[in-house]
Each structure stands twice: as structure tokens, then as C-alpha cells.
């Protein structure tokens, strides 16, 4: 397996994620990093600071020379990009993506991609508070999980290359799962919380009698932090994953209904049991001793 530092790597889309790959790979000492973006100013900034060696506002020349192409675009755009450039990739190259949903991306890409190009589905569980190249950082990968969804057609070296890159960038663990399992779990652990936070802030803020500010504790703030959402990206992610996500929301709705019934009927033991389970589950996930309030 080649050393990532010896490869020519193209990064398509120098946003928060793509820019972070560029900065991380540069810090690792990757010899040749090419940036592809529609925004010339971003390319110039990245080149001026030495993060990329060359910037291209069209992908042709960059991907033709690249051993690894990291597509840092939203899912729909990522699929369209790969489809539109099938003939432009360097034979034998590895192409990987960063999409938060995998089944649809893998399905569409693997249906059209030629033998000579190896597409490895990837999802770095990394992000940040704000979007765009200016907020990108080599450190967003530190301690993060990196999910890979290998396909039967993938060459082992290709999957190993992306895995080694993820670990070299500082990820704590790399996990291989099927695209379907990925999308089913991510629906619960990432997509559902975003849906819930958005509904909660709407319900909490409604009819607030103009004095709600005196009633705001830290609980609501934390619980709705991720309601500060990139609506365009998340609408795409959630709708693209509606298959696994909708049953997941229904499961959550059932749990809310049970809580409402227990509260409405004054079922103290039932309610205490639900809260005890919740604390146990959270402790199981985050390992920390429960903090009472």
C-alpha cells in the first residue's frame, strides 16, 4: 500500500471538511495536494498559505493526475461530480467521499463507475460549529470516528489506503460497516437528534408571553444547540435517508407518547423507571457517571 505522503491528492470542495483534509494532509507531509473549488478566492487563499499546491476551478487537470480524490461535497453533488467525471479520473485511482449518508451514494456511484476506478465510501464523524474553508482545521479529525462502507468490488489496498489516511489524520477509530447499517445507525445517533432539537426549540419558544428569558436554564440551551442547523445540507441528508429515519422518528414518538401518558396519569413508578433507563442508557453510551439535576 502506498504512503499517503507520496501520492498526488485532489480535494474537491474546499469547505469546512475538504479544507480540513487539505490542512491535515499537508501537515502529514503529503507531497502534492490539488484543490478543486468553484470559488477562486478560496483556492487562492489555500494556495497562498501553502495548504494546496495548486487550485483548479474545474476538475479536469487535477483529477487526471491524482492517485486519490477526496470528494468533500454534499451527497447529491458528490454523486453528480463522480458521474460527470468518470472518464476524467486517473486509471487505478481511489475516489472517496465524506457523505453523512451512504446507501444512496454507494448505490448510484457503484452502478456506473468503471473497473479502473475504485470508489471507497467514507464518513468522517467530524465537523464544526461553522461552515466554510475559513473554519476548516487539521484538528477536526482528532479523536473522531471514521466510518467506511467498503463495497465487494473495492480492492483491499484502496480501503486500507483510506483507513490509514483516517488514522494518520488523527481519527481514534475506523469502522467498516455496510452502507445500510451505517444509514440505520446514523439515523438514530445523528439525524434523529437534529430533528428533535428543531422540534423542541419550536415547541419551547411558542407563546412565550414575552418573559421567557427569565425561564431559560442551561437545559434547553444544550438540548437545542444542534437546532442551529445547516438547513440545506440537513434537509438533503434527512430526506435521502428517510427509509431508516422515519421509523426511527416513529420510535421516538412512541417513547414521547409513553412519557406523556405516564405524566398525565400520574404513574410515578412508571416515570421513575423510564428516567432510570434513560440514565443507564446514557451512561452506557458516554461512560460518565450520571449527573443528577
Amino acid at each position: 500500500m502506498p504512503d499517503i505522503r507520496d501520492l498526488t491528492v485532489s480535494i474537491v470542495g474546499l469547505g469546512l471538511i475538504g479544507g480540513s483534509y487539505a490542512k491535515g494532509l499537508r501537515r502529514l507531509g503529503t507531497r502534492r495536494i490539488l484543490g478543486v473549488d468553484i470559488d477562486r478566492a478560496t483556492l487562492d487563499k489555500a494556495k497562498a498559505s501553502g495548504v494546496i499546491d495548486e487550485g483548479f476551478d474545474s476538475p479536469g487537470k487535477a483529477i487526471a493526475e491524482s492517485d486519490l480524490v477526496i470528494v468533500g461535497l454534499y451527497p447529491r453533488l458528490a454523486v453528480d461530480f463522480v458521474k460527470a467525471n468518470l472518464a476524467g479520473f486517473k486509471p487505478g485511482c481511489v475516489v472517496t467521499d465524506v457523505s453523512g449518508i451512504k446507501a444512496r451514494v454507494l448505490g448510484e456511484v457503484m452502478a456506473v463507475i468503471p473497473e479502473s476506478i475504485d470508489f471507497v465510501g467514507g464518513h468522517p464523524m467530524a465537523g464544526g460549529e461553522s461552515l466554510g474553508y475559513d473554519h476548516s482545521s487539521a484538528d477536526i479529525f482528532t479523536g473522531a470516528s471514521y466510518l467506511l462502507t467498503p463495497h465487494e468490488r473495492n480492492r483491499k489496498e484502496s480501503v486500507d489506503l483510506v483507513r490509514e489516511m483516517a488514522l494518520a489524520l488523527g481519527c481514534r477509530k475506523v469502522r467498516e460497516v455496510s452502507p445500510e447499517v451505517h444509514d440505520r445507525i446514523i439515523a438514530r445517533t445523528s439525524q434523529l437528534p437534529h430533528v428533535v432539537a428543531s422540534a423542541l426549540i419550536a415547541a419551547a419558544a411558542s407563546g412565550s408571553d414575552g418573559m421567557i428569558d427569565c425561564f431559560l436554564g442551561g437545559g434547553l440551551r444544550d438540548t437545542t444547540r444542534i437546532a442551529d442547523i445547516n438547513g440545506k445540507l440537513w434537509s438533503e441528508l434527512l430526506i435521502s435517508n428517510s427509509g431508516p429515519l422515519v421509523p426511527c422518528i416513529e420510535d421516538f414518538e412512541e417513547k414521547i407518547r409513553k412519557l406523556r401518558v405516564a405524566i398525565g396519569s400520574g404513574d410515578t413508578e412508571g416515570l421513575e423507571a423510564i428516567f432510570a433507563d434513560a440514565m443507564r442508557l446514557r451512561e452506557g453510551l458516554y461512560g460518565n457517571a450520571p449527573t443528577l439535576r
Copy 2:
């Protein structure tokens, strides 16, 4: 209005909240602070450190001498304590509580309390990660809101005394509301988030295929932080406030349902509009520019 420092103050229940009152009032220079608790060891510790002047494991002597009695007990216990000690309070004294629900407490207490005792309902929007005297601190009030639910029978000086104490303890603002308005707003801003967090952690953790740890981002952690709940206290708070809370949960359920339908039907514009509203609402509550993810 008397200066809080010149009064004899009893604090009933030296837990996280009661202990914090004692430490805060001592820091202010209150001359005589009496602690009432069933746990002798806590009383001894508080006295040894000079936080209280005397500790009592039964209230009789303490409340008979006190100009102000702060009842730092759970709502049900607070009501029972006041009822059980009606004859024991010093004539002309002020009694206040710290319950997170107010209508039921005020209703039960005002129905039985004699003219000679002035009960002022209070709710410091302050708390902490952990329970008990050892976690109490004079600083929990700093910057917090303090809600008062005055009753037509209250003397103005009594309400003023509790307000001045709250401000002296470091609270940012003191707001007077009716018990009913208090309970209606607190249901949305504090109780609903706790209900939601508990349901979310249960839904997120279910059937996690043993690899959920690779799928955990910061979003779920923050969104479910308050699922680490004091089940006994919160079961009482929620059930006691089921009147305002249940419709609030139903409103939230309707908003979740709308999101589910938009996701299931691929209604991108509808979904983006909901997320835009959520961001606007959150910005309105917390003033911070939205952070995209």
C-alpha cells in the same frame, strides 16, 4: 424592610439548593443562620465550616426563632413541612420555598396558612450537576433568574425581602409571575426538554448493533445531557405540573410529526423552512448568531 443580614434565617433541607442559600447568606454576612436537616452529619459539617451557626434535626426551635424560613425541599415535602409546622413559625415571619412548580404549592399552602405567617412562593432558576450539600455553592445564584409568585395575601415587605435576598445572592433578575403562568412557561422551557432528552436517549440507543460508539457525535451528547436526571424529583415535578405540561408535550409531538411527514414525503422546501424557523427562534432566545453544522 429589614436587612437580610440582621435577620435570623432558618434553612430547611441542606441539600444542593438549601446548602447554597446557607453559603450565600453567610457570605453576605447574615448574622444568624440555622440549619434544619434530618442528616446530622450534614449539619455538623455545615456548622464546623461556619456555614450555619446551629444545626437542628427537628425544626421546632429553629423556626420558632426565625424571621425568614427558606424551605429547600422537594415540592411535596415542602408543602407537608409547612402544613406540619403552622403553629411553630414565629409570628410575623416570612416563609419561602424553592419549588420548580408553583400553582399546587401555593394552592395548598395558602389554603391553610394563618394570617400571622407570610408565605412567598419562589423559584431560583439555579441548580447544578450533582445533588447534596457537598455540591452546594454560594455561586449557583450568580446570573440566574429568580421567579416569584406573590399572592394577594402577601405583604409587600415580604415579597421585597425575598427579592432583595435573591439580588443580594447574585441573581441577575427577579421576575414576578402568577403561579399559573410560571407553571405554564416552565413546562415548555424546562420540563419539556427533560422529557424530550429522556425519550431521545432511549430511541437513539435502541438496537445499537454493538457499534454505536463509532456513531456518537457531540450532537447526541449535548441533546441528551439533561437525561441525566434526578428521576425522583423530576417525576414529582412533571406529574404535579401535568396540566400545563401534557398539552406542551402534545404540541411538541405535533411538531415532530410535521417534521417526519416532511422528511417522509421528500418536502425539501417545507423542511428547510422548518429548520430556518428553528434557527431563528433559537437565535431569538439565546441571541447568539446561529452556528451551522
